[in-house]
């Protein structure tokens, strides 16, 4: 199938760092960003732990030099910080020097504002500027306008696999010649809505989450944003760009099993991984490292383990989930894990799966628990979401 699509820039903000470099250092030093929640007033605050970015909206606005009258949701603030870092790291000064698009992903959108002003919007006129910040598309429009992107701008929401699908669409549009350059990724902030939603599903952990552990206790929610710059070969050549890695494989499949639960045999996940390998022109033995979805819920880790066994058999690549560092950042998760996958390739490192002790009996997958130096060529990253949505991305060094 030929070479993948070049990645020329990355940006990220998560609970383990405000930049790509800070995230990398936290991963190396095994420093998780899991804590008690401070920014949202919730009755669950003593019973959950989250991957929260400890910067207020006001300070985020200042970092972006926004006027105090802005109506950015926290999702949009995080997204713009990560998108700007990505553009800067790709050395792009004139965003319209070639046909550039933006594809973002979010599930929360401006829910943080809507839940804060739900009733007061009727009485207080000053907060009405936030009404239009609610929609999922609004944060993408804000970033596009701020970056000066006037052409193709879109937003994807497929729950926890959203950003994988935005990266996939971007790569496909470049391959199809519809765009020369595209900024792809996703963002989600913490909100009462998602905290209570996952709480009702009884899958929030009271302690630091333990992906792939037999005695796992559920997930930690997190907030983050990450974007990657993808460019066509012609763009890369014309500007003599440094390439950080390639998006070589991608696929989405549907589990068609249940609105929220994953199938026991991991059918959707298996299909996604197999299809992605096919697109990349690779066989399962070519994958050196799997950055797993690994949310640490009973259901996901069991189902994903089955799927990994179905695709890789006894010949398992190195496996780890980085969710114990960042929490599950929902629609942003696949984008931050794309950044981590590229970092893994660049530095020949497998990042540890924190808090793991006991393997799941049925599948006996033992993730890496220490930082591992290993020659890496191809990294596979999984992301699965509600609605049976299963996505796999493959990142390659060359």
């Amino acid at each position: 199938m030929g070479k993948g699509v070049a990645i020329t820039g990355m940006g990220i903000i998560s609970s383990i760092g405000n930049t790509v470099e800070e995230n990398y250092q936290s991963l190396l030093q095994k420093t998780p960003g899991i804590s008690k929640i401070e920014g949202i007033s919730t009755i669950h605050k003593d019973h959950i732990k989250v991957g929260e970015i400890k910067i207020s909206n006001e300070d985020l606005s200042d970092l972006l030099n926004l006027p105090s009258s802005n109506n950015y949701s926290r999702t949009a603030l995080l997204a713009e910080i990560a998108a700007k870092e990505a553009l800067k790291s790709a050395g792009i000064t004139d965003v319209n020097s070639c046909n550039t698009g933006l594809i973002s992903a979010t599930s929360v959108g401006g829910m943080d504002l809507t839940e804060k002003y739900f009733y007061s919007l009727f009485e207080e006129e000053k907060n009405r500027k936030y009404i239009e910040s609610h929609s999922a598309g609004n944060s993408s429009t804000k970033i596009a306008n701020s970056l000066g992107i006037t052409g193709f701008v879109s937003t994807i929401s497929t729950a926890c696999s959203s950003a994988a699908n935005s990266i996939m669409l971007g790569a496909r549009m470049i391959k199809a010649g519809k765009l020369d350059r595209v900024i792809v990724g996703g963002a989600d902030c913490l909100s009462k809505f998602t905290i209570n939603g996952f709480k009702t599903l009884m899958i929030l952990s009271e302690t630091n989450c333990k992906p792939f552990d037999a005695n796992r206790t559920g997930l930690n929610l997190g907030e983050a944003a990450a974007f990657l710059v993808l460019e066509s070969d012609a763009c890369v050549k014309a500007d003599n760009k440094k390439v950080l890695g390639y998006v070589s494989g991608y696929a989405n499949a549907n589990d068609a099993f249940h609105q929220t639960a994953s199938s026991v045999d991991g059918e959707g996940a298996t299909l996604a991984m197999k299809k992605a390998l096919k697109v990349a022109g690779l066989c399962s033995g070519d994958i050196d490292y799997i950055n797993a979805h690994g949310t640490a819920t009973e259901n996901n880790d069991a189902s994903e383990s089955q799927a990994i066994r179905r695709v890789f058999g006894d010949n398992l690549p190195k496996v780890s989930s980085t969710k114990a560092y960042t929490g599950h950042t929902l629609a942003a998760a696949a984008a931050i894990e794309a950044v981590y996958s590229v970092m893994a390739l660049q530095n020949n490192l497998v990042f540890p799966n924190l808090n793991f002790e006991t393997p799941i009996k049925e599948t006996n997958i033992i993730p890496e628990t220490e930082l591992l130096q290993k020659d890496l060529h191809h990294v596979l990253s999984n992301s699965f979401g509600f609605g049976g949505n299963c996505s796999t991305l493959i990142f390659s060094k060359e």
């Binding site: 009755i43 809507t114 009405r128 429009t141 701008v153 497929t158 729950a159 989405n252 549907n254 609105q259």
Partner: protein
């Protein structure tokens, strides 16, 4: 670039739009500022036990997609792509209201589970046991057009058919909020026709339209989809230039266009995006509109495409959608233009088949 034939269509809307052959003939202009759905015959498409459990958005999506699949004689599509600006709005509002009213206590997961934007696409897949590619675009007024662009790429990549559609629900709380910021017209202005209201906002409604795109033409083909493009932002002057460029990309000029389908919604501050075109580039072209029948919602432009499909197949332009007196001799090429409040512009080009 391959061929993309629309071999099946389905529409659920504020009108009785269950008969694709009748098209828009008997539609009545909406008079309420918030116009509810004309409930289709759910029983024809959904098991009675499921009708009660499904949200309105899911039901609309299942009915519209079933109609389109049946017409195209496709059992299980090779991809499902859904556009939905606001997702499952009613369940989102319901869950959020419960959180706030009950101070985070006594919550049940059902509304949360159904609140995600991709619930409709996921439920269609579940109903069809369709394990194929399934993505949902949620980008305001271009949610549906992005879905079309993706659908065309899916066919280019080798699939033979794809189910593409749009769906959006009315949410009462959101509507009340949108009244506060003049997105929804005040009731009294509706005494005038939509386009002569000269007031801010539009009329809100809900609906779902689905289409089966295939790489081969079938007997019941409605139209050939030639091209789709979207812009985040355009000035009024740029619209003319971009439309001409869009046609030129397809080796056409405006004289080749028989009908233009416009997304006019009676927004006094923004309809000028259309009227500028109407009075210049499109002055000799048959002009039609549809939002007086569909109302405004993020994916209302999918109703526009359904309209265009019925015109192309019947080769007739009903008088109740026409904006000028020009009658086309035949309908070969149709272009659609939509935008919302100066953002998220889209051009769609269709050809008779």
């Amino acid at each position: 670039m391959g061929n993309y034939y629309i071999n099946g269509i389905g529409c659920v809307s504020a009108q009785d739009s269950s008969d694709n052959e009748l098209g828009l003939q008997n539609f009545v202009a909406l008079t309420e500022n918030v116009a509810p759905l004309q409930k289709p015959d759910y029983k024809k498409y959904i098991k009675p036990t499921m009708i009660r459990r499904m949200s309105v958005g899911v039901k609309m999506g299942v009915v519209a997609s079933s109609m389109a699949l049946q017409e195209a004689n496709v059992e299980v599509p090779e991809a499902i792509i859904t556009g939905s600006g606001m997702g499952c709005l009613r369940d989102s509002e319901k869950f959020l209201k419960n959180i706030i009213d009950n101070e985070e206590q006594f919550l049940t997961p059902t509304a949360f589970i159904q609140s995600t934007h991709n619930t409709v696409g996921g439920q269609i897949a579940l109903g069809l046991a369709c394990k194929a590619y399934n993505v949902t675009y949620v980008h305001d007024a271009t949610s549906f057009e992005t879905s079309l662009i993706d659908g065309m790429m899916i066919l280019d990549e080798g699939e033979q058919n794809v189910l593409v559609g749009g769906v959006d629900e009315i949410g009462n709380h959101t509507t009340e909020l949108h009244k506060l910021i003049d997105r929804v017209k005040k009731e009294e202005t509706l005494k005038n026709s939509l386009l002569n209201s000269k007031t801010k906002g539009s009329i809100y409604s809900e609906g779902s339209q689905f289409f089966v795109l295939e790489d081969k033409k079938k007997g019941n083909c409605y139209a050939q989809l030639l091209d789709v493009t979207i812009y985040n932002k355009l000035s009024k002057n740029e619209v003319t230039q971009k439309l001409e460029a869009f046609l030129m990309d397809n080796n056409l000029t405006i004289s080749d266009i028989d009908v233009v389908v416009l997304g006019l919604n009676g927004e006094v501050d923004y309809d000028a995006y259309y009227t500028t075109l109407q009075n210049t580039l499109l002055v000799n072209t048959t002009q039609v509109y549809y939002k007086h029948f569909s109302g405004e919602y993020n994916t209302a432009s999918a109703f526009g495409m359904w309209t265009a499909c019925t015109l192309l197949k019947s080769q007739k332009v009903p008088g109740n959608i026409q904006l000028n007196d020009i009658q086309p001799t035949s309908i070969k090429n149709v272009v659609l233009y939509n935008q919302y409040r100066g953002e998220n512009h889209s051009f769609v080009l269709l050809k008779s088949c």
